[in-house]
Each structure stands twice: as structure tokens, then as C-alpha cells.
């Protein structure tokens, strides 16, 4: 069996909703039926075969090739299997993903891993705004799983995040971890302004000290053995975070404007 491959024929004029094309939804479906699956493209519905050259037969392993950034909802609500995307992803990549693995060999736009609950999302390029965040109207963002971003992330990464692990090797924009409810966000690069704005609980693990706002309180330097446990849990993830060893940190607690049980740990 070979991976079920969707090769984009032409750059689409409209955005395409890719949520029907996940390993669990395509399991046991014949090639003819897969070709006939209707995908929302702007205000029209198009058959999958009109948009993609489809080959292969292993629905547990899906390759999407030539993606140009207009494919939204890739891996949305997927539960098992693996999707590999060559090119850029549109918005909502891994939206409410529950399991399996989604690898984006490019960039992802806004709301990647929004409401994610399980599995692994690896963005080998950069992510847009609202990574792992809640969509408008939702009260909770990412609720589980692991996101690894090799590049940068935009503003509001981890906004209202409830649980899970968000690891960003590059820089992040403003309001990282804003309104965070719990979980862990790690950033190796620069962090914009207002990190941890209105966070209630959770941990921001930062390599570089950002400019912090007034309601994040300095709790001093500490050696925290629990970080060994956390680093151990990073082992096997495709990220430089697995090489971290420092357990000496400066601990900031906050946001005291919103309960103040969160923490920002700056590695020393």
C-alpha cells in the first residue's frame, strides 16, 4: 500500500475546506468515492478529483502536495493516522485535532491547532496569529496534544489555552499566552510585548527575557527539578526543546490582574 496522495492541480481561486480529507474519515472508502467527495471551495462545492490528482490507497497515511496556502482546515478533527503537507497550509490547520500526526512542511496561517485536543502538529515553517487559540465565541483554546513550530509564531499564540504543549523554536509576537487557562508554552526565540497578559494558570517557558507588563510579578531565581521531568517529556519530539537541560530559572508569577496562578519561567 502507498500513501493516499492529493496533488493540487492548479492554485485555487478560492479557499478550500479540507476537513473531509482526514485518515479516519477516508478509512475504508473506495478510490472512486474519495474522488467524488465534495469540498467547499468558496461558495461552490467541488469534487476532490476536480481539485487534486489522487493516487495511492493507504488512507492512514495522507500526503497533500503543492499546497499553496489556500487549503484551510487541514487535519481538522482528525483522530488517527498521519497527514503530511508539502507547501503552506491555510487557516485552521489541525483545528480541534484529536489524535494522529499532522506535519506541515511549510507555514501555517491563523488559528493552527485552534481547540486542539490531542495528537501532534508539527509546523516546520512558521505559524500565523492565534496559534493554539480559541476561535471567536469559544472560551477555551487548545485543550491537549502537542504543537511544535520550528519557525516563528504570530500574535496571541496560546490565547485561552487550556491544556497541552506548545513549543515554538523561533520568535513569537505580542500577547503570547494571553488569557491562558493552563498548559505549557515554550519559546526559544524573542517574545513580543504583553506575554502572559491576563493568564490565569499555566507556564510560559522562555529562553529570552521579554519586556513584561506591570501585573507579572518577579518571584526570583530558583532551581526547579520538575523541569527535568518536563524536558524528559520532550524527548522524541522533533524539536530543539528536547536538548534543554537548564533547571535554573527566574520565575515570574501572574497575571495578578487575573488570579495570578500562572508563571513565566526565564531559563538562566
Amino acid at each position: 500500500m502507498s500513501a493516499l496522495t492529493f496533488r493540487l492541480k492548479d492554485a485555487p481561486q478560492q479557499r478550500i475546506d479540507m476537513s473531509p480529507l482526514t485518515p479516519d474519515r477516508l478509512a475504508g472508502i473506495s478510490p472512486a468515492d474519495i474522488a467524488g467527495i465534495e469540498l467547499q471551495c468558496g461558495k461552490r462545492k467541488l469534487r476532490a478529483a476536480e481539485i487534486f490528482d489522487i493516487s495511492g490507497d493507504d488512507a492512514a497515511e495522507i500526503d497533500i502536495i503543492n499546497s499553496g496556502g489556500k487549503l484551510d482546515h487541514i487535519g481538522s478533527r482528525m483522530q488517527v493516522g498521519r497527514i503530511t503537507l508539502t507547501g503552506n497550509a491555510g487557516d485552521y490547520a489541525g483545528f480541534e485535532m484529536r489524535g494522529g500526526e499532522l506535519v506541515i512542511q511549510g507555514n501555517a496561517e491563523a488559528f493552527a491547532a485552534g481547540g486542539m485536543r490531542g495528537g501532534l502538529l508539527h509546523i516546520q515553517g512558521s505559524a500565523g496569529d492565534f496559534l493554539g487559540s480559541a476561535i471567536a465565541g469559544e472560551r477555551q483554546g487548545m485543550r491537549g496534544g502537542t504543537v511544535v513550530v520550528t519557525g516563528n509564531a504570530g500574535d496571541r499564540a496560546g490565547d485561552q489555552m487550556r491544556r497541552g504543549l506548545l513549543l515554538i523554536e523561533g520568535n513569537v509576537g505580542n500577547y503570547c499566552g494571553s488569557r491562558m487557562i493552563a498548559g505549557t508554552i515554550g519559546v526559544l526565540g524573542d517574545v513580543g510585548q504583553y506575554a502572559g497578559y491576563a493568564m490565569r494558570r499555566g507556564t510560559l517557558l522562555l529562553q529570552k527575557a521579554p519586556e513584561l507588563h506591570a501585573t507579572i510579578m518577579d518571584c526570583g531565581l530558583h532551581t526547579l527539578p520538575y523541569l527535568n521531568l518536563m524536558y524528559k517529556s520532550f524527548a522524541g519530539l522533533p524539536t530543539h526543546f528536547s536538548r534543554l537541560q537548564q533547571i535554573r530559572v527566574r520565575r515570574y508569577a501572574g497575571d495578578i490582574a487575573n488570579d495570578g496562578k500562572g508563571e513565566i519561567l526565564i531559563l538562566q
Binding site: T184, T203, P225, Y226, N228, L229, K232
Partner: protein, 305 residues
């Protein structure tokens, strides 16, 4: 059966079903891990009055522990799950939470059908008075409780399994020092084995008991048949040359663990041989009517148990 001049009685040790758990204690160094572990397993020789039987199973290197610090593993056994859970929580709270730099982790994971999760730091977290922090890492929940030396780190639960307590053998010698030397040799060999503990002081017990007493309030009393000073008074089990009897009691996670420990312990004791005053190896039982697990000495020594 005779081994190195030592007669091994054709009898059996009688053991009981228990509930067992393992906890991993780590600290800044082994010294403080031992302080915590010794406190936690103190006054835990017999369920008769201690609630649990507990002891240190072995030392752990930093590579073997969850937080990569030196540590020790503790095994704890009780007659029922409720007692075990209560004792675990109490002892953890008073002996590990209080001990500088110490942390506690689950020592038994695995199949939910055979391993029941019981609270470890689950309730102790409330000591944090709202400042405690939960972390979910690698599928497990941990608690970080702020304390005066930094943080008390503990896993939320540990695993409880069906276990066996009361495996034993008796060493009968011509003198007290000789009986003790044989027991020390046995304990040294047995302590290298996993999944078992010998909960009595130094692993050896000198006050073996029988069921019942002439006093109504006592459920157990001295095992007069094995008391050398009563040889002329009671229906003794001792021949004239026996002057001292000591017992090694073993609690283990499985019957195989106990059998193996008994074989290794008896072999080590017998290595001193009759030349050093070791005359007999026997075992404590209640006629086979009380405990469901019978460890026949001859079968164990032949490796057929």
C-alpha cells in the same frame, strides 16, 4: 533435604493476599532520599499494629528516576486497599512532604486491569493552599506544591496491585550470634532482588508468633514451640542443640518473587553450614488453613515451586 549439613524441613511457609504499592523517592542526593524513605518506612514492620509493612526495595540511579535525581524505591503492603491508601497518604505527608528536597513518584504503572491507581499527591496538593500547580507531562499528572525549600514535586497517583505477604523461613542455630550471622547473609543476598521487601528490623524477626493466647485480649502470642528457653516446658519443635531461632519474613509483588527470594535467602544462610552452627531451616505456617499461598521449602529449593 540437607544442604551443606543444614536440614531443610519438609514444611511450608503460609502467606496471605495483600495489596502492594511502590513509591519512588528522589532527593538532591541519596542521603536525603534515604532520610525521607527511612522515615516513610519507619514503624512499618507488621500489619498487626503498624497498618502497613514497608521497606526500601533498592537504590535508584539518576537515570532510573523520573526527575533524574538519585533516589530509592519503597514497597508498601497492607491487608486491604483502604488501609494502604490511608497509610500511603499519611506517611507521604509526614515523611516526604516534610523532608528537604524530596520528591515522590509512582513506582508501578501498567495495565489498568491489574494495576489500580491510588492517590499519591492527589490530596497532599491541598497543602499548597491554592498555590499548587498541576502539570500533565507524558500522560501523567504531577503536582508542584510550594514549600519553604522550593517546591515539593509529586505524582498524582501511583499503582496498587494484588500482592502477597508473609512468605518466610526460620533459621535454627546452635547460638544466637550464629543464627544472626546466617540471617544477615540471607538478607544481604535477598536485598539484591526486585519486587520484595523484608519489613522487620534489619530484615530479621525474632518474635515469631502463634495464633491466639492464654490472654483473651491477645490475638497472637509468642511461638512457644520455637522458643529455645521453653524446650522442656512445651511441645517443642526444637532439638536439644538449638539455642536460637530467627525468622525472615518476605512480602512480594508475586508468588514467584517470594519463591525466588526464599531460595536465595535459604541458600545464603546454608552456605555457613553446620560447621558454623546452622542446623535447620524451617518455616512458619498455620497448618495451611489460613493463608491461600503455601511455599513448600523442598519445592522451592529444587526450583519446582
Amino acid at each position: 533435604m540437607i544442604l551443606n549439613g543444614v536440614t531443610i524441613d519438609d514444611t511450608f511457609a503460609e502467606a496471605f493476599n495483600m495489596r502492594g504499592t511502590r513509591v519512588i523517592i528522589t532527593a538532591q542526593n541519596l542521603k536525603w532520599a534515604y532520610h525521607a524513605a527511612n522515615a516513610m518506612t519507619g514503624f512499618a514492620t507488621s500489619v498487626i499494629a503498624c497498618g502497613v509493612e514497608a521497606a526500601i526495595e533498592r537504590e535508584l540511579t539518576p537515570v532510573e528516576t523520573p526527575d533524574q535525581r538519585p533516589g530509592v524505591s519503597i514497597l508498601m503492603f497492607a491487608m486491604g486497599s483502604a488501609v494502604l491508601m490511608k497509610q500511603l497518604e499519611t506517611r507521604l505527608g509526614q515523611c516526604v512532604l516534610t523532608c528537604p528536597t524530596a520528591a515522590a513518584f509512582s513506582g508501578i504503572d501498567g495495565d489498568p486491569e491489574t494495576v489500580t491507581r491510588i492517590g499519591l499527591g492527589k490530596n497532599l496538593r491541598f497543602f499548597g493552599d491554592g498555590y499548587q500547580i498541576s502539570k500533565h507531562l507524558g500522560g501523567k499528572r504531577y503536582w508542584r506544591v510550594p514549600v519553604m525549600d522550593g517546591e515539593f514535586l509529586t505524582e498524582e497517583t501511583t499503582g496498587m496491585v494484588r500482592a502477597i505477604g508473609g512468605g518466610n523461613f526460620l533459621v535454627l542455630a546452635e547460638s544466637q550470634p550464629q543464627a544472626l550471622a546466617a540471617c544477615e547473609a540471607a538478607i544481604e543476598a535477598m536485598r539484591k532482588l526486585p519486587n520484595i521487601i523484608m519489613p522487620f528490623p534489619g530484615g530479621v524477626v525474632r518474635s515469631g508468633s502463634k495464633v491466639g493466647s492464654k490472654y483473651k485480649s491477645m490475638i497472637a502470642s509468642t511461638n512457644d514451640a520455637f522458643c529455645p528457653t521453653l524446650k522442656g516446658l512445651v511441645k517443642t519443635q526444637l532439638s536439644p542443640e538449638i539455642e536460637s531461632v530467627m525468622e525472615i519474613v518476605i512480602d512480594g509483588l508475586t508468588a514467584d518473587d517470594i519463591s525466588k527470594a526464599m531460595r536465595i535467602g535459604i541458600t545464603a544462610a546454608c552456605e555457613l553450614g553446620a560447621a558454623n552452627g546452622i542446623r535447620r531451616i524451617s518455616a512458619g505456617n498455620y497448618g495451611g488453613k489460613l493463608g491461600p499461598h503455601l511455599f513448600h521449602l523442598h519445592k522451592i529449593m529444587r526450583g519446582t515451586a
